[in-house]
Amino acid sequence: MEILVCVKRVPDTAENEFELNSAGNDLDRDDLVYSVNEWDNYAVEEAIQIVDKIGGNVTVVTVGDDESEEVLRREMAMGANNGILLTDDAFEGSDGKGIATILKAEVEKGKYDLIMTGAQADEGAGQVGGMLAAMLDLPYASLVNKIEPGEGKIKVGREIEGGNQEMNEIELPCVVSIQTGINEPRYVGIRGIRKVASVEIPEKGASDLGVDASAVGEAGAKTKRVDYFVPDLGDGAEMLEGSTDEIITALIEKLKAKGGL
């Protein structure tokens, strides 16, 4: 099976303390560390497991700048066979639809049976998977937590509210968005990344893909971020302050006072 997994480089929520920049319209990105979006990592692991079972190739693709190459290498160190970096000044500032447009162009260059995305990204809106499927006119399964590969079709599972499980059959080629917990992604260390350090990763721009530069990037974006802020504390919300012990003591007292304990 030929599988394409779309991945994204995001600031790592576990290893950063987020602060707003001075303009107040984005994060202060000077001191951030980045990694591959967690959901995408599960998607790549799932793709590798499918290929290990029934054969084929896993290709990882991302839309981003030069630094996004790092996440492609990490996924290739996991076991993805190929990486493609879609990069162009014209892509900067793309909204969800712009990203889907760029990815669609790349998907059409290859012959993929299965296209995977993460269900959402750490700082994303969960748009790209669905839009990509619609643009490609392919069937789409979202929030997939189980895949059983088959001939010409696959079975995909989805968790339903309340803990029930649903299984759907979907014809190939198709697009699926992957939920975390579908597997246990393997560990990639520095050694793994160094092993693939010299593997060539092709870069493609708007002209290589045949994408109209005005349809993507800031120029083509129909949604624009107008504000970014930490919400004010609302009524009834209170931040407990002090050392961990003091916070715990205060919390216990509050719970007791309200009859919660």
């Binding site: 790592d12 576990a14 290893e15 950063n16 303390e17 001191d31 560390v33 990694s35 996991m78 246990e184 992604p185 393997r186 560990y187 990639v188 260390g189 520095i190 050694r191 793994g192 160094r194 050392s243 961990t244 012990d245």
Partner: protein, 689 residues
């Protein structure tokens, strides 16, 4: 001249068959077979990875004399140990007798060179008692194993069949050797006595002495028959035993001398990924760590052969004690069973599968805290930590790392600490205004010079509760007049556990960043309050100035008079000191913290039964804090209960990880209010003059 008994070299069976032929053929077959078996057993060692065990010959000879010949680790388990010393000493003494007995079979009256005169008489006297003591020891051992069945010999179902039958069988073979040897001699002496020969002096109450008395009334032909019969019983038993040894746990009779000679001579360090490959060449290696059987080093294979199945390692193992799926004894036994299976006595050698899928489980290998209790105990010098680390290196290389550990490892890669906190906040513990009024800490990454570097390490730098250790250490150093500074944002995690969890390249990265930053400061010594950092900097890093733990500095400064301590502020409390594994067992620092505590006038201090080199791990430090093991209880809870039994109500530790684990354990054990955990630096700071 009185007629004497006919020996096997001259005897004719049924009047015509010379028994010397048998006595000659038996050793030829026995030794031939033994040579073949040993050649098959050595095959996997030749295919194994290299190991550097021919250095430090002086220390190795010392181990041979103390650990092998002196059996110094045996009496740590008193009854079993004393029984073993008796059997071991008996074997050494009787090996001479057995060798000459084999030759007597085809050469009448053979005496080993030098054993003809007084030496021979003295030897005979000693060996008669040796045989007697060995027999008595065997009987007690057999009763103990067969009837009383001490718990540590039990084989849990998941690890295979019980080994009692083999153990008792071998005790039976040894007893047969002792009895037949003694009867062989007693029958001759009784025969001579019956013919009026001069009485030999015999060791009173020895087996020979008893048997001779019992045989004094026996007819001459019976004595003659018994003499020949017991000779061949001994000969057969001897060569059977020789060839049976390499088939199981009694292989140690042959391998122990080599295993002890080649045992670990340095403590606290971890073996390189591959001997002969420098750190710079690591990138060129195709594969890392132990994945298949032959990836073990030849010494580690020899360890598998040498295990006597005594169960002491697992009896001391804290992971085993809390019901984690790890028992060091079976790390060895399972590998030995696999060697025996893959390298059969004849025919094709089988290929090994991935060990963590075949004989081990991932959880089993992650369960080890590398506390070193097993290695400290093993009378044969069998190693576990290096094997566990090598297996983890293999798992990391295959991507088999639990999600709970992937997060901190990634944070270490990106931020140099397992919490993913910002580098610039590493020195924040020293920056509050209140603290700066008491003590100013120089940040050597910004400016300034100092004699001494205080290496804080991650948990003490970032964990809210542990930052107190950093502040107190700074105050103590200040008070003691030490000119010190910290690395601030340039300090990375020491990587003690990164190395021990098998993430070699990440460790190399942390090591080179720290080494560069430390050497840049030009300090003359390093002090730390974290035994894990202490161990890594001292034993794993190369080319650094000398490293001391804060307890050593405090003990020295008290001795020199630079620090003086007040009388005990809480004289009604009973204190107990818990030895951290990486301070005690791995680095031999047992006395300094005790001396410092005893310098506090009026402080009541008791000792734990499991203390010093038998200390019981609190649950493990570094990355082990992130790992979620399957276990029935926590190591810390057992430790807190031990302290309570010792009558203590304050457990003093000298390690931030011990403090975390024991603080938690006190809550889990429901002993809040009764017991408290206190860091060494807290106790000292409270009592600073």
């Amino acid at each position: 001249m009185t007629p004497s008994i006919i020996g096997p070299a001259s005897y004719k069976l049924f009047g015509f068959f010379p028994t010397w032929i048998l006595a000659f053929v038996l050793p030829v077959i026995g030794i031939g077979l033994f040579t073949y078996i040993m050649a098959r057993r050595i095959a996997p060692l030749i295919r194994a990875n290299p190991d550097n065990r021919f250095d430090q010959i002086g220390l190795r000879v010392k181990n041979l004399i103390i650990v092998w010949l002196g059996q110094v680790r045996q009496p740590r388990y008193m009854l079993a140990g004393v029984l073993h010393i008796l059997i071991f000493a008996g074997f050494l003494i009787l090996s001479i007798r057995s060798t000459s007995l084999v030759i007597i079979g085809f050469s009448d009256g053979f005496v080993l060179p030098g054993f003809g005169g007084v030496l021979g008489d003295v030897y005979n006297f000693i060996k008669d008692y040796a045989a007697t003591f060995v027999l008595i020891a065997c009987i007690i051992a057999a009763v103990r194993r067969g009837i009383f069945k001490p718990k540590r010999y039990a084989v849990p179902e998941k690890y295979g069949k019980d080994h009692t039958a083999e153990a008792v069988f071998v005790l039976g073979v040894i007893s047969t050797l002792m009895i037949s040897e003694s009867l062989f001699e007693a029958s001759e002496l009784a025969y001579e006595a019956a013919n009026g020969a001069a009485e030999h002096f015999l060791a009173p109450l020895s087996l020979v002495w008893i048997f001779k008395k019992l045989l004094s009334a026996a007819p001459l032909n019976v004595l003659q028959g018994l003499h020949i019969f017991t000779y061949f019983v001994h000969d057969l038993a001897f060569f059977f035993f020789l060839n049976f040894l390499p088939m199981g746990k009694h292989f140690h009779v042959i391998t122990s001398i080599f295993n002890v000679f080649f045992m670990r001579v340095k403590k606290g360090n971890i073996k390189p990924v591959k001997y002969g490959i420098s750190d710079e060449q690591l990138d060129d290696l195709e594969t890392f760590g132990v994945k298949k059987l032959e990836d073990f080093t030849w010494k580690h294979m020899l360890d598998f052969y040498s295990c006597a199945d005594c169960g002491r390692c697992s009896d001391q193992c804290p992971a085993n004690a809390v019901g984690r799926p790890l028992s060091p004894r079976f790390i060895t036994i399972k590998a030995r069973d696999l060697i025996f299976k893959n390298y059969p006595m004849s025919g094709k050698i089988f290929k090994s599968k991935l060990l963590v899928e075949d004989i081990y489980t991932e959880d089993e290998i992650w369960s080890c805290t590398t506390c070193g209790a097993c290695e400290e105990e093993c009378p044969l010098g069998i190693e576990y930590i290096d094997k566990i680390v090598d297996l983890r290196r293999g798992m990391v290389d295959e991507g088999l790392v639990p999600q709970t550990l992937q997060k901190p490892l990634k944070a270490l890669e990106k931020r140099g600490n397992p919490y993913g906190k910002m580098e610039k906040k590493r020195a924040e513990w020293a920056e509050s205004k209140e603290f700066q009024e008491i003590c100013q800490v120089k940040d050597l990454s910004e400016d300034g010079e100092a004699d001494t570097l205080y290496f804080v390490d991650s948990i003490t730098s970032y964990d809210d509760n542990m930052q107190d250790i950093a502040r107190r250490t700074a105050v103590i150093l200040d008070k003691a007049g030490v000119d010190f500074g910290i690395l601030g944002k340039l300090e990375k995690d020491s990587g003690n556990e990164v190395l021990r969890f098998g993430e070699e390249m990440l460790y190399q990265d942390l090591k080179s960043q720290n080494t560069e930053a430390i050497l840049e400061t030009g300090v003359k010594q390093i002090v730390t309050a974290d035994p894990h950092a202490f161990n890594a900097l001292k034993n794993d890093y190369k080319g650094l100035p000398p490293v001391k733990h804060i307890s050593q500095v405090v003990a020295e400064k008290i001795e020199s008079g630079a620090l003086s301590l007040k009388s005990c502020q809480t004289a009604d409390k009973v204190y107990v000191y818990h030895d951290p594994c990486y301070l005690g067992r791995h680095n031999g620092v047992y006395e300094a913290p005790r001396k410092a505590m005893d310098a506090i006038n009026g402080l009541t201090r008791v000792e734990l039964e499991k203390s010093r080199d038998r200390s019981f791990c609190c649950g493990g430090g570094g990355l082990m804090l992130f790992y979620e093991p399957e276990e029935e209880t926590r190591m810390g809870v057992l430790r807190v209960n031990m302290a309570a039994e010792a009558g203590a109500n304050v457990i003093v530790t000298a390690c931030p990880f011990c403090l975390v684990n024991i603080q938690d354990a006190i809550k889990v054990a429901g002993k809040e209010g009764e017991m408290e955990a206190l860091d060494f630096t807290a106790l000292i700071e409270q009592h600073l003059e």
